[in-house]
């Protein structure tokens, strides 16, 4: 795919130096009791890149994001963001520093309207300090237009369908005006046409100057979007590189084949 042009986006984001490390993870580890969900993962996310994170079910992708964003405490390791050690920083400060993420299991504020949901992101995210609640609602309208949900702004979040709930997750994260956006399976459950639209939207976000980390099981999307791909398997990083190269890596093929084998031979439930 052509390298996206850093176009002047609708979201007016401050930009760092392309290619400089934005986030650095060293030996990041998480154990749940005896389960090593993430084990000694090293990863550098460069300013301005679009990075894919893949791995079979249960590989530790979501847990890894939870560790980077402070939602779960690290068992071991270190994370720096924009040059600052954030290994033990409270989750809300990550948001203020310019991290945003979507949740694989969507977390809408069900008793608020779509517009208010997004406004909360605008109020408390990286750009929130300068905004009143009223200005945040205006900002929410801007973001909803950007993601193509302006017609649904006044609906209750509990009235949305799954694809729209995924889109709302994205809108809330974008309203925070992040430098680094982490997307956890925003395309799961979407039809082919909806996937195309979502990819287009993610490209548009990236082009506006946001560094993006995409977790996705839809390989077409990963190959189509990512400049670089990292593969997790049983919590460990087993491969890293160009999308096509990584897909042909025997270790990666084995990890995915193992999963398909297990699925095909799973006892009928």
């Amino acid at each position: 795919m052509p390298a996206p042009h850093p176009a002047p986006g609708a979201l007016s984001l401050s930009k760092g130096v392309e290619g400089q490390p934005l986030l650095v993870a060293r030996g990041v580890t998480k154990h749940f009791g005896g389960v090593a969900a993430v084990e000694g993962v090293d990863l550098t996310v460069a300013e301005g890149e679009m990075l894919g994170l893949i791995g079979p079910n249960g590989a530790g992708k979501t847990t890894f994001i939870n560790l980077l964003t402070g939602m779960e405490p690290l068992t071991a390791g270190q994370v720096t963001f924009r040059g600052r050690d954030i290994s033990h920083q409270a989750a809300y400060l990550m948001g203020r520093m310019g991290m945003a993420r979507t949740f694989q299991v969507v977390k809408p504020f069900r008793n608020l309207s779509v517009r208010e949901n997004v406004a909360v992101g605008a109020m408390f995210g990286a750009g929130g300090a300068k905004r009143s609640s009223r200005e945040s609602l205006a900002k929410a309208d801007e973001v909803l237009a950007f993601v193509g949900m302006d017609a649904k702004a006044r609906l209750g979040a509990d009235q949305l369908t799954i694809p729209d709930l995924k889109r709302l997750e994205l809108a809330k994260a974008l309203a925070m005006e992040p430098k680094l956006l982490m997307l956890d399976e925003v395309m799961a459950g979407l039809h082919t046409r909806e996937i195309e639209a979502a990819m287009e939207l993610i490209r548009k976000v990236h082009a506006s100057g946001v560094t993006v980390l995409v977790i996705e099981h839809v390989m077409k999307a990963i190959v189509g979007l990512s400049q670089r791909v990292v593969v997790l398997h049983y919590g460990e990083k087993i491969a890293e590189g160009q999308p096509r190269e990584v897909m042909q890596n025997p270790k990666v093929i084995e990890a995915y084949l193992g999963q398909q084998y297990a699925r095909r031979h799973a006892p009928a439930s």
Binding site: T69, K107, P108, R110, M123, F124
Partner: protein, 327 residues
């Protein structure tokens, strides 16, 4: 202003005018002023509970601790330090808010029924301390406040207006909160605390603030109550009944709504009187039954019912069962 807002403004203005004027009409006896004072007090404590229980979604079961602390602060300030009524009440509210801040830091780490039980425990513990700290509080036999020089009707009316001021203040406070970032943050915490945190909300600070504001209003009500009663004993000042009434009223009226507690207080008072008169001995059974019906048919209280978003129908019942059945 929308049509609906205009209607609401008119209703509020009329209700407020009636509340301010009725004590001056001779046709109404002093007894009515005292009854309405009790209702307004319940509405104020419900409005206070609404901030932490309704908007923030933390079901506090120990708000009476702040009522008692506010009341005892006023009693001690007025009887031992000869502070005037109004500054004493304000100080009582602040002491209660400070107490909630200190308690909230550890307790608000708990969620759901763990939080409820912890607050219940704190209220009981506070009552024990007050009961046993005889030198300061008079212990179990209580503390006597200075008697007002006013004749009873004038005094009762003054206490009524003091309580009304606390209640109106609590409505204005709640309105301000719902319009501010604080309000959006509290609702976000109620709806999904992890999502709230991830969006940049300092959840601990927000929850403690809501708890402290809830305590402030409850403490002010307790302070006025103390002077009005002129005698404070731990059984009254820390009665579980105060907490339960605040919660029931909030739930009946509509938790997390601005006018829910006011409507709930009126509905509760009529219901209670009706049950007392017609089913002596069975009133608690019926009150419990009414609560169950309210929760099933109007999970968002009378407010939702008035705005026409819910009806008493079998399908509403079925929908409720579907949404809330176990697994």
């Amino acid at each position: 202003m929308t049509r609906r807002n205009r209607i609401v403004s008119v209703i509020v203005a009329v209700a407020l005018a009636a509340l301010v004027l009725f004590p001056f009409l001779d046709v109404f006896s002093g007894a009515l002023v005292r009854t309405v004072t009790v209702v307004v007090m319940a509405a104020a404590t419900a409005q206070a509970w609404n901030l932490i229980g309704g908007y923030t979604g933390y079901p506090a079961f120990g708000n009476v601790a702040f009522f008692g602390v506010g009341g005892y602060a006023v009693a001690i300030l007025m009887s031992k330090l000869h502070v005037d009524f109004i500054p004493a009440v304000l100080a009582g509210g602040l002491v209660a808010a400070l107490y909630a801040t200190l308690l909230g830091l550890p307790i608000l780490r708990l969620k759901g029924h763990y939080f409820s039980i912890a607050t219940l425990g704190v209220a009981e513990a506070t009552r024990e301390v007050v009961s046993n700290w005889t030198a300061l509080t008079g212990g179990g036999s209580g503390i006597t406040l200075p008697i007002s020089p006013d004749i009873p009707p004038i005094f009762n009316r003054a206490m009524y207006f003091s309580m009304l001021a606390v209640f109106v203040g609590s409505v204005i406070l709640t309105y301000g909160v719902t319009r501010s970032k604080l309000g959006y943050g509290l609702i976000a915490i109620r709806e999904d605390e992890d999502a709230a945190r991830s969006l940049g909300i300092n959840t601990t600070r927000f929850k403690v603030t809501a708890f402290a504001l809830s305590a402030l209003v409850t403490g002010l009500a307790g302070g006025v109550y103390a002077y009005w009663n002129s005698q404070l004993i731990p059984e009254d000042a820390f009665s579980l009944d105060i907490t339960l009434r605040a919660i029931l009223i909030s739930i009946i009226g509509g938790p997390g709504t601005l006018f829910g507690p006011a409507l709930g207080a009126v509905a509760f008072e009529f219901m209670r009187n009706y049950l007392w008169d017609n089913f002596p001995g069975l009133q608690f059974t019926f009150l419990g039954l009414v609560m169950v019906l309210v929760i099933i048919f109007m999970p968002k209280g009378v407010m939702e019912f008035l705005t026409g978003r819910r009806r008493f129908t079998a399908s509403a019942l079925l929908q409720y069962v579907r949404q809330n059945r176990v697994s």
